[in-house]
């Protein structure tokens, strides 16, 4: 329960922090906790680097459905980053625990999603 609350608090905090970062085409973060990607759906500007960090005691991966990007196994507190240069919607999952899924929405400089 404690973990669930933490995950929720973390997710909520990210939602506040990530939006301004993304708007500046800086970095954005996704946290993996309790076998969940948070935020599960993240909207960023093209050119933004997204960093996934694993907070679980079990390794996870990040793999695009279309294999555009794929991390090695991330142990506890390890991270993986990928820079999204093209607008579009990118669905991904954990190749070890495929019920874990997430989406990165990349908006073009004009704000549109062309992919």
């Amino acid at each position: 329960m404690r973990m669930a609350l933490l995950a929720f608090a973390f997710g909520a905090a990210l939602a506040c922090v990530v939006a301004p970062l993304a708007a500046q085409t800086g970095g954005a973060a996704v946290v993996i906790d309790n076998f969940t990607f948070a935020p599960q759906r993240l909207t960023i500007k093209a050119g933004t680097t997204v960093t996934w960090t694993n907070r679980d005691d079990i390794p996870h991966t990040v793999m695009a459905m279309d294999r555009l990007f794929k991390s090695n196994a991330m142990d506890t507190d390890e991270s993986y980053s990928f820079t999204f240069s093209t607008a579009g919607e990118y669905s991904y999952f954990c190749s070890l625990h495929p019920h874990m899924t997430g989406t990165i929405v990349v908006e073009g400089v004009g704000g549109g999603v062309t992919r």
């Binding site: 995950a7 076998f35 390794p59 459905m65």
Partner: protein
């Protein structure tokens, strides 16, 4: 829709009944083709079964060092120690995957050093933790050379046909474990010429039946494998992955999952996630263990004995 919901409710109840099990090891006895539970390991020792007896260990996670069990090597050593102390020597042992935690060469080495002390022939199937190396070669080099495809294989022992399946590769987004078309075709060919009276044991890492879909505790195309063994009079399905004992019998098919030797995981839905469960230190060994299975000619069932490391 209502019927479907009722069905789910029934299976959920069955799952919960199975949750009353607790222990460390699994001893399997095959007798007349159908597996049956003998009880816990100490009781199994007392029975001195005559016939084919083999052991199942699972989820040793060598390399795991988190609070749920900072010494996964130590608890595997304890499990192997109990196996060495069995009065009746088993014919062989199966390991249903997650030998290591992170697929590091040193973890495979440590696991081999400890498990080889049992002095038994060991047949492995991989868990998802055994194929984490970037090139995905370490498991196959060590254990999977004889296998087809991603490492699946079959062998015969004591009149029983054993099939080791791989259901942790090429997983689909949003899904659970997966066997894939190639492996299912091989399985159909492998079973084709066997007589229906041959006892069959299927073993794989992730449960072949759906235990809890939202945690991925099942195999997407497991039902297709079970369809292929439907005509056999005795089928036993042995899995790991969920770090707790669950069993059910459906017709001629007995399903059983083994405990981990490393750390327990929560009952389905009992926690926010299926991650390692931290329990008080004095409770840990009652939730880890091994299993022994005995097949006796002239009786109808495989006898399975789950033994906890303690209590």
């Amino acid at each position: 829709m209502t019927t479907h919901d009722d069905g789910d409710g029934t299976s959920r109840r069955k799952v919960l009944e199975c949750m009353t099990w607790a222990g460390t090891g699994l001893l399997w006895t095959v007798s007349g083709g159908v597996p049956r539970s003998l009880g816990l390991v100490d009781q199994a020792m007392a029975e001195e079964p005559r016939g084919l007896t083999f052991l199942q260990i699972s989820d040793s996670h060598i390399g795991f060092d988190k609070p749920a069990n900072p010494n996964a090597k130590g608890t595997l050593e304890e499990a192997i120690g109990r196996i060495k102390a069995l009065p009746a020597r088993p014919s062989f042992m199966i390991h249903t995957g997650d030998i290591t935690h992170l697929s590091k060469p040193s973890e495979f080495d440590d696991a081999d050093t400890i498990i080889s002390q049992a002095g038994l022939d060991v047949r492995y199937v991989p868990g998802e933790h055994d194929i984490l190396d970037p090139d995905v070669t370490l498991y196959r080099e060590r254990y999977g050379r004889q296998g087809k495809g991603d490492g699946w294989y079959s062998f015969d022992a004591g009149g029983v046909h054993f099939v080791g399946l791989v259901n942790v590769k090429n997983l689909k987004a949003g899904g659970m474990g997966s066997l894939g078309d190639d492996q299912l075709k091989w399985l159909a060919d492998d079973l084709r010429d066997r007589t229906a009276s041959t006892p069959v044991v299927l073993f794989a890492h992730v449960p072949l039946w759906v235990i809890y879909e939202s945690w991925g505790w099942g195999t997407d195309d497991g039902a297709r494998a079970l369809e292929l063994v439907k005509r056999f009079g005795s089928v036993t399905v042995l899995n790991g992955h969920i770090h707790q004992v669950m069993q059910k019998v459906e017709g001629n098919v007995a399903f059983h999952t083994a405990r981990s030797t490393a750390f327990p995981q929560p009952a389905p839905g009992a926690a926010a996630s299926p991650g390692p469960m931290k329990v008080p230190d004095d409770k840990l060994r009652s939730m880890l263990g091994v299993a022994s299975v005995t097949f006796k000619r002239g009786t109808q069932r495989l006898a399975i004995i789950d033994t906890p490391l303690q209590g």
